[in-house]
Symmetry: C2
Subunit: 352 residues, 2 copies
């Protein structure tokens, strides 16, 4: 990496395109002055936004393309239309070619993952990708992965998710040996979670000096912040994430309707407004915007498609952190420390 952190921005991604991407980049720049940007997309829309912000313009280049991936394109359609030429693809290609240190896109998740796997490719030693989300907890924040990339991950894949999630946690939380838990269900002796049990044995018996494996956690442990990194396969992880979002909205809705019911409670609300503002800030999804695509041979960040400039700035800063503190190297360190001995013999016959 140069002394600058260079970030490629898919300027056409998301619901709003450059009108959110450019001001988002500007906010991130104000907090991380060593950022450089490569805006990829329609120059006619990007140029005026940069011209209006000299500080941003000074650290930005534009790579023009007419082609962009639509938010509702299926991955196969996106690949047909956008491979080699869309703003999403070209941003990823800049990562691949090491012209930038990370790419950020608010475009659609499926297309971004499909293109990332084709263009950036997997990092050696990792079979399947994972999307890692930052999850606000009572204790602070945790990392949850996979939230939707690899459905039905097997034991070895779950182990690699643990290693990659721990690498990300070392950067984000600045701790040496992040605690890691495997998401499981509390019912004892149930069948069908063999891969989770096997992953637990592998993590327990292997040599992973860069993570502190704490065994199984349950769904309610996520919000408690019981561990720094929660590992699960993509289907359950995605459902956990969306369910938590839904529950937060639902409680917000209850609260709003309860408070607007009487004059007294409205007055109470005004007096406690600062408390509610604190609550709102705690629950602000923009603050933790950005999913990290792990397992690729480069840093790729997915921003929420509907986010605003503040939210996009969070995704940019997440990419900044991952590049500046060398996610890829930390992942390699995590794998390099895998014990050379095979898994416990008792596990050899367990189907996943």
């Amino acid at each position: 990496m140069t002394d600058k952190v260079r970030i490629a921005l898919d300027a056409m991604g998301g619901d709003h395109g450059p009108e959110v991407v450019a001001p988002g980049a500007a906010i991130a720049l104000s907090r991380k002055p060593d950022l450089n940007f490569l805006f990829v997309g329609d120059e006619a829309r990007i140029r005026p936004l940069l011209d209006a912000d000299p500080a941003l313009r000074a650290v930005s280049e534009i790579q023009h393309t007419d082609v962009s991936v639509a938010m509702d394109d299926k991955p196969s359609v996106a690949l047909r239309k956008g491979r080699y030429k869309s703003s999403m693809w070209l941003a990823l290609e800049a990562v691949k070619a090491r012209r930038v240190d990370a790419a950020i896109s608010a475009g659609n998740t499926g297309a971004l993952m499909a293109m990332s796997r084709l263009c950036v490719r997997m990092t050696p030693g990792v079979e399947r990708p994972a999307i890692a989300a930052i999850w606000p907890t009572i204790r602070g924040e945790s990392i949850v992965l996979d939230v939707g990339a690899t459905i039905g991950a097997d034991a070895n894949q779950l182990v690699s998710f643990a290693v990659m999630g721990a690498a990300m946690a070392r950067i984000l939380f600045d701790i040496d040996r992040p605690t890691v838990g495997l998401l499981n269900i509390g019912v004892e002796e149930v069948k069908g979670v063999e891969q989770v049990k096997e992953a637990a044995s592998l993590l327990r018996e292997g040599d992973f000096p860069r993570l502190d494996f704490r065994g199984f956690v349950e769904g309610n442990d996520i919000g408690k912040g019981t561990v720094d990194v929660v590992v699960t396969e993509g289907f359950s992880g995605n459902i956990a994430l969306k369910t938590a979002e839904g529950t937060a909205k639902q409680i917000g809705e209850y609260l709003r309707s309860a408070i607007s019911r009487t004059l007294m409670s409205k007055i109470g609300y005004v007096l406690a407004k600062h408390a509610f503002d604190t609550l709102r800030e705690k629950m602000d999804p923009r603050k933790v915007n950005g999913g990290v695509f792990l397992g690729l041979d480069g840093v790729v960040i997915k921003s929420h498609g509907g986010t605003d400039a503040e939210g996009f700035a969070s995704a940019v800063e997440l990419g900044y952190d991952m590049a500046r503190y060398d996610l890829m190297e930390k992942i390699h360190q995590g794998f390099a420390s895998v014990a050379p001995e095979p898994a416990a013999p008792a596990l050899a016959g367990v189907a996943s």
Copy 2:
């Protein structure tokens, strides 16, 4: 059924045993005067509680046993120690023998499910059981199943969960054709959810006049109340349930800490107290206590182990409703209406 609804109570189940079960039964009786109880457990502990409440005593019998299943017994241990003789087993046996219309236990879930399958057995035509939870939503309540009984259910099992959940919804929500959704993730064209896709085809193309299939829903649709019945396999369902519980606790925690931060916000809290009470009531887990074990040849309800008398009463009333409005018959109606024609040929080769 007689004109009374007869309920067997595992008096020794749960963290508190008869001291919660008896007052819980009394609360339920005050609201459903046509209840009759069979208390199964340690007579020396149960008798004084009934003697202290003549109304309850008048409708209750005691079946004594010294043996009870511990809350942390593994199912295999519970079966070894408690088969044929524990309060849990004997309560289930009363269902099996049609001496009661339903059994309620706050004992441990794994043991209760294992014993239910051995003692009450599956209802003809259903392969695997499901645990159905009542989930508070913005719109009111929905039913979510399976929350932990059948890990990795296949397409046909998911279809049977849909039919059974709809039967339960017809009773609880008093609607003719409950809406049903299959829990899925939003990423398009992902692999590994073939069984969910196949279940969708079966539900779409089959003839199910007792339910209104609405396709896929995502995790955030549960809290919205998008459909009356959300169907998923047990691993994801359990994780969704626990994650929602965790998120609700987490937000409650944020709110408490935000409100106690300043004098002004404390005053605001007092003024808005009624609003907060409404919120607390909305979020009260006791109100929706009780998981229904579906797929058995009888009505079995699992109460939360740590609940109080009010919560246990909810579980009893849930059992009352399922028995009084004939869950078993409604499930059979749901299956009877399955179209005799096979699934669309295109599906025949899809692996699950």
